[in-house]
């Protein structure tokens, strides 16, 4: 009797152990199935990235321009100037532009100024879209100092680049889609590209300015040292926030290389040039920054 009992107990104990192990196995399966993404060098569940990035930009928003100037020693202005002049907004008449992740309005302002100065174009409009309200507030504040404030030429919208609301951002309605230094912060780059494809008119241009890979063996290590040594310290000194700037430099390293990103643009349906520097993309400063373009046909 007792033997049977103990046998039964052992059996049920074994079953319990087995079922517990089974459960542990299945939950780790589901962990593996759960999508993860990178946040700088950390790996995090995909659904958390958006709020973590939001926290980064909430905290950097008020000092964003100061930090850009300090980190790039003012060079980011040259890159943005180059980006906008290569696009020539307004050359073929007034354009309806959408500038995504454009919070503080750097690109939008340049687009409007270029059209006005080169082509006497006061009808070109830019819709500035950003997921972060703090950044949009900074942009709105900056635009108040320009002649475009309260005109139909600029407007600000809070939206997610991966799913632009269909009622407001209608299919096939824009002549130019720009995204500068924003796409690497998005959780899913293919989704952003898909939305870009949707809202652009046939024949319109997609343009992306982003930090990219430096392949030059002399410049590369120097750039790495500068990024990982100086930039987080500048963050500490100027804004008291090292972690956000550490995230920023790490996220640059995780971004796909020039040809990989060009392929992703093609996968979304755009047509690009050949996979060489000068065609599908244009390296600035050896690849520190890079302009990728594609056309919707």
């Amino acid at each position: 009797m007792s033997l049977l009992c103990s046998g039964a107990i052992r059996q049920s104990a074994t079953r319990k152990w087995a079922s517990r192990t089974f459960i542990r196995c299945t939950s780790s399966y589901s962990d593996r199935d759960q999508k993860t993404t990178s946040f700088g060098f950390k790996t995090i569940p995909a659904h958390e990235k958006e709020s973590m990035v939001k926290n980064v930009f909430d905290s950097v928003a008020s000092n964003y321009d100061l930090m850009n100037d300090a980190m790039s020693l003012g060079v980011h202005r040259l890159w943005k100037d180059e980006f906008v002049s290569s696009l020539k907004p307004g050359r073929r008449g007034p354009m309806r532009c959408i500038d995504v992740a454009g919070g503080t309005g750097d690109i939008a302002l340049r687009l409007l100024d270029f059209a006005r100065e080169k082509y006497a174009d006061r009808e070109t409009s830019v819709e500035v879209v950003d997921i972060n309200a703090q950044m949009l507030k900074e942009g709105h504040r900056r635009f108040k100092q320009t002649m475009y404030h309260n005109t139909p030429q600029v407007s600000f919208h809070e939206a997610n680049a991966q799913e632009l609301p269909v009622e407001k951002f209608i299919d096939n309605s824009y002549d130019l889609y720009t995204i500068a230094f924003g796409i690497r912060n998005c959780t899913s780059i293919p989704d952003v590209l898909k939305e870009a494809y949707r809202v652009l008119k046939p024949g319109a241009t997609f343009a992306c300015l982003e930090f990219n890979k430096v392949t030059n063996p002399l410049l590369g290590p120097i750039y790495d040292q500068y990024s990982f040594s100086v930039i987080p310290l500048l963050g500490t000194l100027l804004t008291g926030d090292r972690a956000s700037y550490q995230y920023l430099v790490e996220s640059i390293r995780k971004f796909p290389s020039q040809p990989e990103f060009a392929q992703m643009i093609r996968d979304a349906g755009f047509v690009t040039g050949k996979d060489i520097d000068g065609a599908a993309w244009n390296n600035l400063w050896g690849g520190v920054a890079c302009i990728h373009t594609g056309v919707k046909v």
């Binding site: 060098f41 790495d224 990024s227 990982f228 100086v230 310290l233 000194l237 390293r253």
Partner: protein
């Protein structure tokens, strides 16, 4: 510089394992960069207590091992290193201290906190010291700064804060104390009354007492709450403090420069700097920075 040293100076782009929570490892170049940068920025904006803290840590150098050795040589100091006590409103029972008799050290401390409007919380944690024990010594210094104010009976206006800095330099030998002692007075060069009081009364006393009294880093303050405060002062060798306090809590000291503060002369996230600074008016809420002017 040998190749190996050069290698050690290169920042690895991979994440580093911290030696304690909040630890950020810096190589020699980054350390120097942060030291100079934090000195410049905190001189321009004295409310950046986190940078004063960074300045202290990046310039500490060999002073921390010396302090640790002083602690090891003394039984009370050894106990502190073993227990690693922290001082904040969670670890210190403020209510119990307030109920102590008026002549005790604990009650004196509570009275001091009330008069100055300072809180022991929100001290910036240590980030840039690599060795965890030395990091604790730095943290201990930062948390005890208010206690040094209290034991020397100084308040938290500019000249008092600088006096404590001179005292600390003589007593503990931290470079940050010297830097603040030199940089701090730049801020009150214009106010003759404060300058005179500082240099003719406070500084001589601070230097003399600081160097002859016992090294305060090895005092286990939390075990002495019930001790009579005058007896404690005699034991440590801190007597006849020239410190002068304003007549009443609500009186605005019109001579004091309202625009900046003591954060400039602080070791860490300012004990007094953030709240009691600008004037001797302590009627604002503790822990807040008073409005300028």
């Amino acid at each position: 510089m040998s190749l190996r040293r050069l290698g050690a100076n290169i920042r690895s782009i991979h994440t580093q394992t911290p030696a304690y929570p909040g630890h950020i490892q810096l190589n020699a170049f980054e350390n120097a960069f942060l030291a100079v940068g934090s000195a410049v920025v905190s001189l321009m904006n004295p409310y950046r207590a986190d940078l004063i803290a960074a300045l202290g840590e990046t310039t500490a150098g060999s002073s921390l091992p010396k302090l640790r050795d002083i602690m090891l040589a003394n039984p009370e100091g050894r106990q502190i290193l073993k227990d690693r006590p922290r001082i904040n409103t969670r670890t210190v029972d403020m209510d119990a201290l307030a109920r102590l008799p008026a002549n005790t050290w604990g009650r004196t401390y509570i009275n001091w906190l009330e008069r100055t409007g300072v809180t022991p919380d929100s001290r910036e944690p240590v980030h840039y010291i690599n060795d965890p024990e030395l990091a604790y010594v730095m943290q201990r210094y930062r948390e005890c700064h208010d206690l040094y104010h209290c034991i020397t009976n100084f308040s938290v206006n500019v000249e008092s804060e600088l006096a404590v800095k001179y005292f600390e330099f003589a007593n503990l030998g931290l470079p940050l104390a010297a830097i603040s002692a030199i940089g701090g007075p730049l801020r009150i060069l214009s106010n003759a009354k404060k300058r005179d009081r500082l240099f003719s009364e406070y500084v001589p006393w601070a230097l003399k007492t600081g160097s002859t009294s016992r090294c305060l880093i090895s005092v286990y303050w939390e075990k002495r709450w019930e001790q009579d405060v005058e007896e404690l002062r005699r034991e440590l060798g801190i007597v006849d403090s020239p410190a002068r306090w304003p007549k009443s809590k609500k009186t605005l000291d019109v001579d004091s420069d309202a625009s900046f503060n003591l954060a400039n002369s602080n070791p860490g996230p300012g004990s007094g700097s953030q709240s009691g600074n600008e004037t001797d008016n302590t009627s604002h809420a503790p822990g807040t920075v008073p409005p300028i002017g």
